[in-house]
Symmetry: C4
Subunit: 259 residues, 4 copies
C-alpha cells in the first residue's frame, strides 16, 4: 500500500551516520535551476540513496524508460559523507512537486521529518528567480528564515533585494524553509536569476558556485559549464535574430516616409 | 509538523486572563474593509499576540520581507486587556483566508475553538459590502445570529436592509457568526458599504466608528482618516475624469450630426 | 465544532416513534421539481423538524434573511405521523447539495444513516427530468433500485422509458436510491419531465399527484396549482412571442426575394 | 455506508481457491482497448464475480438500464479457474476510473489489496496507445515493472519502443503495475496502438491475441473480429472520403492557375 505521503527509508538514519548534515533541496521549478544543481551534486559526489518518497499528490501515472521499464513518480534523498572540510550532505532530488495545494504542505511536512530524522543542522533550498527577460550575468538572490544567516550568505555572493521575489517563493523551496523556521533549523533559499523561459544551466552554475563557497565544497562544474556554454550560444543566436528584426523594423520605418 | 489547521497558543488562555472578551475578526475581503479596521485596532491598542494559526488551506508559499526574511502564511490573534469601560478584546487578523471551500469550514472551526478557549462572550466579524459603484457616504449594514442584537446595533448606527447582502456573506466573516450561532455566542457581521473596486479606508472608518460605539471604546482614527482623505481625492479625480469623458461623449454626439 | 457532515438530531428517532416511515427527498435540482414537491408537503402536512444537517460540502457562506438574521447552509428532515391510510413520512428538504464530487457520497451516507435510524421502509427521491424544450403535459418517469417496484409505480402513472434519463441521475436523488440498494431498502426516483430552463411547479404538481397515489395520501395541491397556472400563462406568452418571431422570420424571407 | 474506497468480497478469496492467478485489468481508457479485451474474457470464459468495488472517486450519479433499474458506479472482479494449460485468472473490469487525481492512487491501493488477497503472481494491465492517426495494422507495445519479463513478452509479439509512450501511462493501467513493483509482483502493461479517436475493437483483437499467447489460453475472438471488421469498413469509408477530398483540393489548386 502506498500512503498519501509515503516515506521509505532504504537505510536507517542512525545507520547512515551523517553528522549534523546540511540538507540541499533541488526539485523542479523555474528554469529547473534548483534541480540542475542538486542533480549535479548527486552525479559528481559519492552519494548513497537513503530515502524514496512516493505520494498521492504526484501525477497519477508512470513513466516508461528506454528499456520499457516503468518508473513510479517519486522523489529521492541521497546522503553524502564528507571526508574534507565540507559538512555531510542530505540531497533531496526528484521529478515532482505536488499537483494539489494541500499536497505541498503534506510533502513539506515529510521533507522536514526526513531532515529531523537525519539531524539536519541547516537547509538550503535551491530555485530560479524568473525575471522575464534574458539574463547575461545571472546572480543569486537569497531569502532566509533566520536573519543571522544574511551576513554569511552575502559574503558568499548572495544578494538580498528588498523583498524580492515579490510574488513569494512557491512550493517546496519556500515551504521547506518556512517549516524549518517552525522547527528552529536555520535555512535559506538560494535563487539564480533566470529568464523563466527555458531550462537554465548558466544560472544553475552560479547557484552551484555560491553553494560550494557556503559548503566549503569543491566539485567539478564542468558538466554545467558545458551546458551553460551551449546555452550562451543559443542566447547569442536569439539576440542576433532579435537585432536583425529590430533593424528590419527600423528600415521598415524609414521606408514608411516614402510610401 | 504543521497540521491541516495548526493553532499555536503563544500563551495559555487562562494565563492571558481576558474577561468575557469580545472577538473582532478582520481578515482580507471586499475592499479590505474588515482587515483595515482590525489591523488598525492592533496598531493603536496595547495588545499582545496570543495565537498564531497556520494551515494547509493557505497558499503553498512563503513571502519575503525587505530584509530577506521569509514569512509563512499565518493568521494571528491579539489580546487586549481593557482598563476602561470597554470589554476585553480578542482580535483576529491576518493576510489569508482559505483557498479551498472545505478549508473555510475547517478554519471557522479553529476560530471558534479559540473563541471558546478564551471565553468569548460576543463576536463581531467585519467586512465590506460591495455595491459596484463609488460610494460618497459609506454606512454600515449588519447581519446577526441572534435577533436580540438588532436594536443595539441600530442604535449604534447599523442599518438592516431587507435581506442584504443578497449574495450572502462569504468566507470567515459569514461562517464565524454562523458557527457562533451553533455555539450560542451572540454575534454580528458589520459590513461597510464600498465600491468593491479598491481598498477602502473611508468605509473602514465608518465601520470603526460603529464598532467604537458598540464597544464603548475610544481610539484614534487618525490613520484611517488620513488614508480616507487620500482616497477621497482619488475618487474626486476619477469623477472628474468620468465627467470629462461624458462631456466628450456628448460633444462627439453633437458632431455626429455634421459628419 | 461542525463535522464534515454533521447530523444533529433535534429528537431521538425512537422518541419520534415513526412506524416504518417512507422517506421523501426533495433537494434542489433540475427545475426545482423535487424541492417544490417536498417543500409543499412540509407546508401542508402537520410535521415536526427532527434533524438538521450541516456540512463542509455546502457553500462556505451564510445567507441573510429579511430581518438581518443569518442562516447557515443546512438541510432538514421533517417527520410526519399519519393518522390515516398513508404511511408515516420522513421528508428531507433543504437548499443545498454538495459542491464537491466526493461530498455527494459523504452526504448520501448521512441521508442513509438517518433513514436507517428512523427505520425507513422505502425511499422516494424526487427530481426533474430536463428535456430541453417546453412541456405542455408533463408526466413522471421512474427509476427503481428493485424491479418489484415497477408494477406498483406504473399503476400510479409512472412511465419507464427505456434507459431514460440517458445521462443517469446525478446527485442526491440518484445516490440515495443507489445507497439504499446496498442497504436493501426498496426505493425509486420519480422525475417530472420539465424543460430544464426554469423552476417548474406544473411538473411538480404531476409528481405530487403520483406521490399521493403511491402514499394513499390526500393533500391540497392548491398552492402548486396556482403557481402552475401562472407558469402556464408565462409559457403561453413565450410561445406567442416565439410564433410572432417565426412569422417575422418568414416575412423577412419573403422580402428577401425583392431585395 | 459506502467507504471512500469500498471493496466488497462476494466470496472469500480462500473459498474461491485460485492458484497463483494472473490478474488482468481492463478499465475504460484510450480507444477502450483494455476494456474491450477484459469484457470479452469475462463474456467468453466461465467466470464468477468475486468482488464489487464502489468509491467516492467515481462520478456522483447512478445510471438507469432499459428496465428502469439503477446501477451505482462500481468496478468488478471476476475469477476464472483454469482446467487447461493457462493459469487461473482474476479479471478487473468496470465502467469507471477515478475522477480525481488522488482517487487514482487510492483505487490502485485497493486493486493491489485484492490482488494480494487472491495471491496474484503476475498482473497484465491492458490499454490503448493513441498515435493520433488511423492505424491499419495495430500492434502491441509493452511496459514492464521487471526487466526479466521483456524477453517473454517480445516472444509473444510485444514491441518495446524506446521510451514509448512518451507521456507515460496514466491512471489504473500505469499505477497498478507501478504499485505491483513496490509489492514485488512482476507485471506488464500491454497497449494496442490505436488512433485514439474511437473505440477500437481491431486494436483490442491484437492485444487479446498477445494475451492468449502469454497465458497459453484459447478463447474465441469471433466477437471482437466481427466488430473489428465493421470498424475496418468504417475506416475504409473514412479513407475514401479523405482521398476524395484530397483530389478535390488538388483540382482546386489546378484551377487556381486560371483564376
Amino acid at each position: 500500500m502506498m500512503d498519501r505521503v509515503d516515506i521509505r527509508y532504504l537505510r536507517r538514519p542512525e545507520e547512515v551516520g551523517l553528522e549534523s548534515p546540511v540538507m540541499i533541496e533541488g526539485l523542479p521549478g523555474i528554469g529547473h535551476v534548483g534541480k540542475l544543481v542538486a542533480d549535479h551534486l548527486v552525479k559528481v559526489l559519492e552519494v548513497e540513496k537513503v530515502v524514496e518518497l512516493y505520494s498521492h499528490h504526484f501525477p497519477p501515472q508512470v513513466m516508461v524508460d528506454e528499456n520499457g521499464m516503468i518508473k513510479l513518480p517519486k522523489n529521492e534523498v541521497y546522503a553524502y559523507k564528507s571526508d574534507g572540510d565540507s559538512p555531510d550532505l542530505l540531497i533531496l532530488v526528484g521529478d515532482y512537486q505536488s499537483i494539489s495545494n494541500e499536497g505541498h504542505f503534506e510533502l513539506a511536512n515529510a521533507y522536514l521529518k526526513i531532515a529531523k530524522d537525519f539531524g539536519v543542522s541547516r537547509i538550503y533550498t535551491l530555485g530560479g528567480y524568473g525575471v522575464g527577460k534574458l539574463i547575461e550575468e545571472p546572480y543569486v538572490i537569497g531569502a532566509v528564515n533566520d536573519e543571522s544567516l544574511v551576513a554569511e550568505l552575502k559574503e558568499a555572493g548572495v544578494k538580498f533585494e528588498n523583498g524580492e521575489p515579490a510574488g513569494g517563493i512557491i512550493g517546496a523551496a519556500g515551504l521547506i524553509i518556512g517549516f524549518a523556521m517552525l522547527e528552529g533549523i536555520p535555512s535559506a533559499c538560494l535563487m539564480g536569476t533566470t529568464s523563466g523561459y527555458m531550462v537554465d544551466p548558466k544560472s544553475a552554475k552560479v547557484v552551484l558556485e555560491v553553494l560550494m563557497k557556503l559548503l566549503k565544497l569543491e566539485v567539478s562544474t564542468e558538466d554545467l559549464e558545458e551546458r551553460a556554454k551551449e546555452m550562451e550560444k543559443l542566447i547569442a543566436q536569439i539576440k542576433e535574430m532579435q537585432e536583425a528584426q529590430t533593424v528590419q523594423f527600423k528600415s521598415d520605418e524609414d521606408l514608411a516616409y516614402f510610401r
